[in-house]
């Protein structure tokens, strides 16, 4: 394991310490060491919270900032934050108009958020939630409620954060974020596994010369293991799963996000996107905006995810609003 580590048990705290030092123009710490908040004021508007396990940089803390999330609960590597951390994040993001908790569909997060929402209720903080379930590969379409949240969460945060900053009510923020994720579909292809620092060896295998279609951010197995393909074939495979599921059709306007899983050179993501763009455009679907880079990773996994979100007027306005977070900056 060729990694930059001290004691693996302290990696999250050390990472947070370094993160707070570097980005003190955007984020600040709270009394809970595992909660990071934005420097933007939440006074008199809805606050936006997320949270999740660590190791997905820039997710989750990288999406705290202007027109994005207001506070984030931070878990151990690939492990949900505590209920208390979510609760403290709610408190940090509470400006009196309620809190929208926009998170991903993982059992640990579901349980901890549920408990945190209860704690918040006791203290009179109104929290409503949206659970991202954009990963097409994680369950059949008729069981969407079982699907994982993956890189589509970034778009959900962008929409929710922008809406909250326009002064919308909690219900309006929740509706916009819910619409964003309902309009979003993703799929990943994994090329190499990752090693959790505390474990020291890969906990799943992707054989050299093969790829895993539909893999999850924690190596949750996908829908198919097949021989490694060219970038163009991977693009086709991803597009062919993602487009029909929503379905995205001719005339739609969409946002496309291609994220690396960590160790894949960014150059290759552009190669992949080049073909994805061709395939989507050829179907008469208009790409309004695209994001290509490491937006939601899994430590040093190799591979990439494709996310497509259908726009309407509201989503278009919100996605185009500026953002200033570590992981997503736009003017």
């Amino acid at each position: 394991m060729q990694r930059i580590l001290n004691n693996p048990d302290n990696i999250v705290d050390e990472m947070l310490s370094g993160f707070l030092k570097t980005h003190n123009d955007i984020v600040e710490k709270t009394h809970n060491q595992r909660v990071v908040k934005s420097k933007e004021s939440v006074e008199n508007r809805v606050g936006v919270v997320t949270g999740g396990g660590s190791g997905h940089k820039p997710a989750f803390i990288g999406y705290v900032g202007k027109n994005m999330c207001d506070a984030v609960a931070v878990g151990e590597i690939c492990s949900s934050p505590t209920a208390v951390a979510f609760f403290d994040a709610f408190k940090a993001a509470n400006g009196g108009k309620g809190v929208a908790c926009l998170y991903g569909n993982y059992s640990g997060d579901n349980m901890n958020v549920k408990m945190a929402v209860k704690m918040a209720k006791k203290e009179g903080i109104e929290v409503k939630t949206v659970v991202a379930n954009d990963d097409v590969a994680s369950a059949p379409k008729d069981q969407r409620e079982k699907r994982r949240g993956v890189a589509g969460e970034v778009l959900m945060w962008k929409i929710g954060g922008a809406k909250a900053n326009k002064g919308a009510s909690l219900d309006e923020v929740i509706n916009a974020a819910q619409k964003a994720i309902d309009n979003t579909r993703s799929i990943g292809i994994g090329l190499t596994p990752c090693v959790l620092p505390a474990v020291g060896h890969p906990n799943f295998e992707i054989k050299e010369g093969t790829m895993e279609v539909g893999i999850g951010h924690h190596g949750e197995p996908g829908i198919e293991v097949c021989p490694l393909e060219t970038a163009n074939n991977m693009a086709k495979r991803m597009v062919d799963v993602v487009l029909p599921d929503y379905p995205f059709v001719k005339g739609d306007e969409v946002v496309v996000l291609v994220s690396g899983l960590g160790a894949t050179p960014v150059m290759e993501l552009y190669v992949l996107y080049d073909e994805i763009e061709r395939l989507i455009s050829a179907k008469g679907i208009k790409i309004h905006k695209s994001y290509v880079g490491n937006y939601f990773t899994s430590l040093e996994m190799m591979g990439a995810t494709l996310t497509v979100m259908k726009l309407d007027d509201e989503l278009k306005e919100l996605i185009d609003m500026p953002a200033n977070s570590v992981g997503l900056k736009q003017f």
């Binding site: 151990e76 690939c78 209920a83 640990g108 349980m111 408990m115 799943f204 949750e220």
Partner: protein
């Protein structure tokens, strides 16, 4: 021979701690086969925090369960925080006023823990989770109560039931948690949570049994 003293129960908690620590690598290995390989680390972290914090403290069985549960719930996160946190805290609440813990009380404790769990997870027996260990263990205790078995005999039944429950997960397909995404590919491997639950229940049973023997020695 029929009860143990709640305030002497620290030993039980620390035997649970030791069992988890001893099995840290094994549990991660089991989790690694169809999950993300961190179950040993997750469990060990919470249990070791408890050990460090209460090593020098005088603490009863039920207070210890509540403290351990709270540590899991507030400091560990993941799935295990809320799951074991809820089980242990609810177990503690079911008997926090007791000085002596008999089979009946212990049985009620474990049932309450299982009920608490049902309040936060949807998994049922057969879904390849720790419910497959915990539920038959609860049943075994309840049956032992009904059949008027002795506490130590009941503990043996519970251990057997827990073991059988754990083993049953091998042939199941995961329905919850990370491994559920595997579908058929999750068959053939133990469930990590079911395994840790069996380890905890076994450690609990064995050390309660030691206390019972000690009690009976005192009584004689």
């Amino acid at each position: 021979m029929k009860t143990f003293r709640n305030k002497e129960g620290k030993k039980i908690l620390f035997s649970m701690v030791k069992a988890i620590q001893d099995n840290k690598a094994y549990l991660s290995e089991v989790d690694g086969l169809i999950g993300d390989g961190d179950h040993g680390a997750n469990m060990n972290k919470g249990f070791t925090v408890f050990e460090t914090r209460f090593k020098e403290e005088n603490i009863s069985f039920t207070d210890g369960l509540a403290e351990l549960g709270t540590i899991l719930l507030t400091e560990i996160g993941g799935s295990m925080g809320p799951i074991y946190g809820t089980i242990l805290i609810d177990m503690a609440e079911a008997a926090e006023d007791k000085d002596e813990i008999d089979l009946n009380t212990f049985s009620k404790m474990l049932s309450t823990g299982l009920e608490g769990l049902s309040g936060i997870v949807d998994a049922k027996v057969g879904d390849k989770t720790l419910v497959d260990t915990l539920a038959p263990a609860v049943d075994a205790l309840n049956n032992a109560v009904k059949e008027n078995k002795s506490f130590d005999a009941a503990l043996i039944d519970m251990k057997k039931a827990a073991e059988a429950g754990r083993e049953s997960t091998k042939n199941l397909v995961a329905k919850f948690g990370r491994s559920s995404r595997l579908g058929e590919r999750s068959r053939g491997v133990l469930d990590a949570g079911a395994t840790s639950c069996c380890i905890i229940l076994t450690a609990m049973a064995d050390s309660i049994n030691d206390l019972l023997v000690k009690e009976s020695a005192n009584v004689q």
